[in-house]
């Protein structure tokens, strides 16, 4: 009897300790979370996480660069020749095989993030061996679809999420 009693007492005591420790840990976590998440983008930054761009003034064969989430985005209005050269490639030969069709929404317009996938430099327009971009840092060549053709970069230039509101405007993000 006596023994049972002690045992019962210990389990009840243990329960209170465990409960308090668990609750304490939960509270500590809830206290630390605001301190951690304050470093995430604040609401004024998030409000700018999508931008609207007017593309009506871009001439054929030209490109503009817009800033989106602190990164340059290339919007290029391709000439029919450039589109042709991008579409005619046999994608099996590519380092990062992607069809031009899945990289654009309208074949005339190419929208890519202008950051070299190698180490984050900004490639230069109209340079390089494939008529697209050339990264001056370590010599990566991109074609007119922004795909990696030569050099150390592992993947094609990233396509951001965007959509056409109408023929003249796109929303990035």
């Amino acid at each position: 009897m006596d023994r049972n009693n002690i045992k019962e007492k210990t389990t009840r005591r243990d329960f209170i300790y465990t409960l308090t420790a668990t609750l304490g840990a939960v509270g500590a976590g809830a206290t630390i979370w605001p301190i951690v998440t304050q470093m995430n983008p604040d609401s004024s930054v998030k409000a700018l996480s999508s931008i609207e761009v007017d593309i009506s003034k871009i001439e054929k064969g030209k490109e503009i660069t817009v800033m989106w989430r602190g990164k340059p985005v290339f919007i290029k209005r391709r000439t029919p020749e450039e589109v042709k050269s991008a579409e005619s490639i046999n994608i099996k030969d590519l380092k990062h095989p992607e069809d031009d069709k899945i990289r654009v929404k309208k074949s005339e317009w190419l929208v890519v993030i202008g950051i070299c996938t190698h180490l984050g430099c900004v490639p230069i327009n109209g340079k390089g061996e494939y008529g697209g971009w050339f990264c001056p840092c370590h010599g990566s060549h991109y074609d007119t679809s922004g795909r990696i053709r030569k050099g150390p970069a592992p993947t094609n230039l990233e396509v951001p999420s965007y959509k056409f509101i109408d023929d003249n405007r796109i929303v990035i993000g």
Binding site: R13, I16, Y17, L19, T20, L23, G24, G27, S43, S44, A47, L48
Partner: protein, 259 residues
Amino acid sequence: MIKIFRTFLIVFFFLTQNSFSEVNKTDLIKVNWPFDGFFGKFDKASLQRGFQVYKEVCASCHSMRHLSYRNLGEKGGPEFSKEEVKAIASQFEVQDGPNQDGEMFTRTALPSDKFVKPYSNSNAARAANGGAYPPDMSVLVKARKGGANYVYSVLMGYADEIPSNITLEEGVYFNKYMTGNKIRMPKPINDGSVEYTDGTNASEEQISKDVVAFLTWAAEPHLEARKRTGFKSIIYLLILTILGFIIKKKIWSNIETKV
């Protein structure tokens, strides 16, 4: 000893309480605000009406430079829908630039833009208002002793009958609750100053209440989240304190008997 100490504390609090009321010579009008108290919340419809009042009455002189149009759609505020916020923003024009030609240009405002200011700088504001600067209203409620009640009282404190001991200069108005009883702002709100679309009677009192509620939210946009979090944390801490006290009692239970 405890008694003496307690008396000290009571006397002290009595004295400080006195000191607070002494500064406001006239007692403010006390309103039973829905956002007061432990469970206080904003009345969304009232905040939306309040924004309308701000836009149509106050905004011609008072800026709200810390607010953006997107705030109007955020949780815990007037909670306009996304489309409504866009529509509100598009009523304004903001300066942007420079463009490729190096020139500044105006464009339609976006939800991410700050509230458009009535004057480009404070000197322009002063010059247009007979030397008195209409204060920015983003944190006005927190910047005044008495808070929401004070702002409400000032709005309601205009009177036609001016006490004989007060002489008013040109362009100065009498206000019961303003320090020195003088104010440079002409009575801004009257019955029917705005036309409410939701059928609420646009009486002077109602308009003032709505705009003060709006200003309170503007000064403290996270009030609802704060009170909610506060309530939860206090419940949590109460439980933890009780548990801690039980544990302490248990640990110390056999200490006294050692004697």
